[in-house]
Subunit: 441 residues, 2 copies
Amino acid sequence: MSKSIYKPRPISGFPEWLPEVRAVEQQWFDHIRKVFESYGFCSIETPSVEEIDVLTAKGEVDKEIYVIERLHKEENDKEARLALHFDQTVPFARYVAQHFNDLTFPFKRYQMQRVWRGERPQAGRFREFYQCDIDVINVDNLPIHFDAEMPAIMWEILSSLPGMEDEKFQIRISNRKILLGYCQGIGITENVAEVLRILDKLEKIGIERSFNLLRELGLLEGQAQMLIDMTSLKTSDPNKIRDFIYKIEGVSDDVFQGLEELETVLKSLTHLPQGSAIADLSIIRGLDYYTGTVYETVFLDDPSYGSICSGGRYDDLAGSYIGKHLPGVGISIGFSRLFDRIRLKGRLPASRKSPAQVLVTVFDDAQRFDALKTAAGFRKRGINAEVYHAAQKFQKQLGYAEKKEIPYVWFLPAEGKGHEVKNMATREQIAANPETWEPQK
Amino acid sequence: MSKSIYKPRPISGFPEWLPEVRAVEQQWFDHIRKVFESYGFCSIETPSVEEIDVLTAKGEVDKEIYVIERLHKEENDKEARLALHFDQTVPFARYVAQHFNDLTFPFKRYQMQRVWRGERPQAGRFREFYQCDIDVINVDNLPIHFDAEMPAIMWEILSSLPGMEDEKFQIRISNRKILLGYCQGIGITENVAEVLRILDKLEKIGIERSFNLLRELGLLEGQAQMLIDMTSLKTSDPNKIRDFIYKIEGVSDDVFQGLEELETVLKSLTHLPQGSAIADLSIIRGLDYYTGTVYETVFLDDPSYGSICSGGRYDDLAGSYIGKHLPGVGISIGFSRLFDRIRLKGRLPASRKSPAQVLVTVFDDAQRFDALKTAAGFRKRGINAEVYHAAQKFQKQLGYAEKKEIPYVWFLPAEGKGHEVKNMATREQIAANPETWEPQK
């Protein structure tokens, strides 16, 4: 067998955790799943790959895509080119189109999988990461109530994840119809996608640079200024936006429809603490498939970390595959970036290195069978139990339990004594009946 | 926005399920996780990719590997070449070497992730599939008790998964030291890896073809025949193997060590039903990293479907990275192939299309706020509740619940009546208090 010369090292952008961190990650996933299901969202998963044509059909994302290929593929391979999905929205839209006849609409699903983006790794930017998405797709018409439900569910989750207690975050909501209609109203009819892309980066690149870029695109000074004023609006009172829009003549009906939708969504969030959810017309989302409501969520003490929970409405994504109208809306927790931030802040709750609640010790090899039987009895009663792997000195067995943070150590009858259990926190060791003993919660 | 012309279709070898199937898949994962944790195995996950050097360091697997590459990668890209992992053992060994100083040994972990192999898709052979692995790695010396524990845990799982009740399966166990030492004893010293590879396929390609292939490799007729006789042995009584080996002079101590290990493992499984676990010297496992115990598990009514649960001991895999001796043993459920078989047999347990237990109906839009509040109350009490999305006719709302298999429908006070709940199975509708009502289990 060849001797490996490879020295293992982390791969930049592909996180992996120690068991005690992974235990909290599982706790988070379990919690998110529970809340999603409590609202009636069912689970689906899609393959990690899609045909490249599916992934590149909408939006300018191809630079980030990872294609996959067999190391030794045959020549003249006629298989479709496959790539790892970069989000869960496009695969979900494809799923709905493909399984259209087998689904009940409105179709509400959640999806918690890894996604991949070939971006430059940096704080909060991984190349492989988990997203937790909820989406609804309906046939023909999707009530605005769903747009309103999405951020409320996410608020419930974000504010109840263990470790998030002291975090202040804000959901920022806009509606693309407003900005698109506004552009039209002030006479911008060309390069609209590019205009939006510049405004999308406004917070990142600053007002001056955005202004210059808009001017370079051919916008008049007044147009560029009005767009920047418009997208600088951040308010929990939609009337302020209404006032702003009324100043412009020739604004299309779309703008007012977008405004009404935005109002409905904001109104449904008034039960949240003041400032939790605001209208922010600078929220555009880079992806081209959004058509109405758009959401982002930032930490108030560090908005530059980027959005931890984003999404929006996409009226033309799923249906385009099969010639139907299948409007959808969804929102996604950027799980890994959120989790990693709380981890780096040292705020993850305490967790144990082992799920075992009790370690059954072994005095000598003849006792192993009894130890296995005792542990099996514990497991039957829902107690996670591990049998020590060798009849070593008790001190060594206790040391193992201590290092693995197993809270109880069990001793089988020996040397005239009966069953005993040691509480590793209090160091107290007492007689106990293996058929009735319960660990403290 | 460009109109997509892509017609969605399944990608061969990359399975995806409808919600009602996915619900059972989740049930299976939950069950497996629970059993793994009940034995004190902690969870870890590794990235989906490894550096190619890691994946190809051991064994002849490169033909199956999927490499990944950014669609528009820069020229002169100096990043290491990455590929999707084809199993969880190699990544786990790399993980242990990399995090050596942060782990407590013996390190017991479980891992339930997708893996990828670029094989030709066929029944039970996917290109993307889940594996559920348990492994233990220790420093210097790993007691044989762990080799014995592995198949017992897997038996417990396989025999208790919902849908597996009527399946007859058999765990087949061997120890590579026996066959390797036996080869040496009968004078085969060259091409041993190739010899093993032929014997590994014996059941598939038949005795005659195997015999001829062994002869072509240069084995004498007697040698080839003895190997085939040896690997045809299937017995729950290790003494039969012992008898066989004693016929040969010059058999190395390794053979008897392997035999003793095999006996210990089999003895620990005597509590299982007769014939559940047998010694089978034809079990070799294709992967080169195994050094001792090896396991496979087949359906007795269809052994040609291949192994649904396999693994073994690898004494030189993890340590080779960092110049230590880190022996390991593990076993893996081929989750997707197992699940898909039970699915195709129509034996998966019944499941619902939606996790919602109750649908709260809406009589008119003014009632929506009360409906949301009522549903929130249910969720607080652990009842999954969905609010219908529009104030449509009750008949339509009931039809939705029926199609989604939501077992209860709730009616808010209206037209002089109080809260009422309808049991969709019995069609009975009764008055109910939203603060105390519980769905039947």
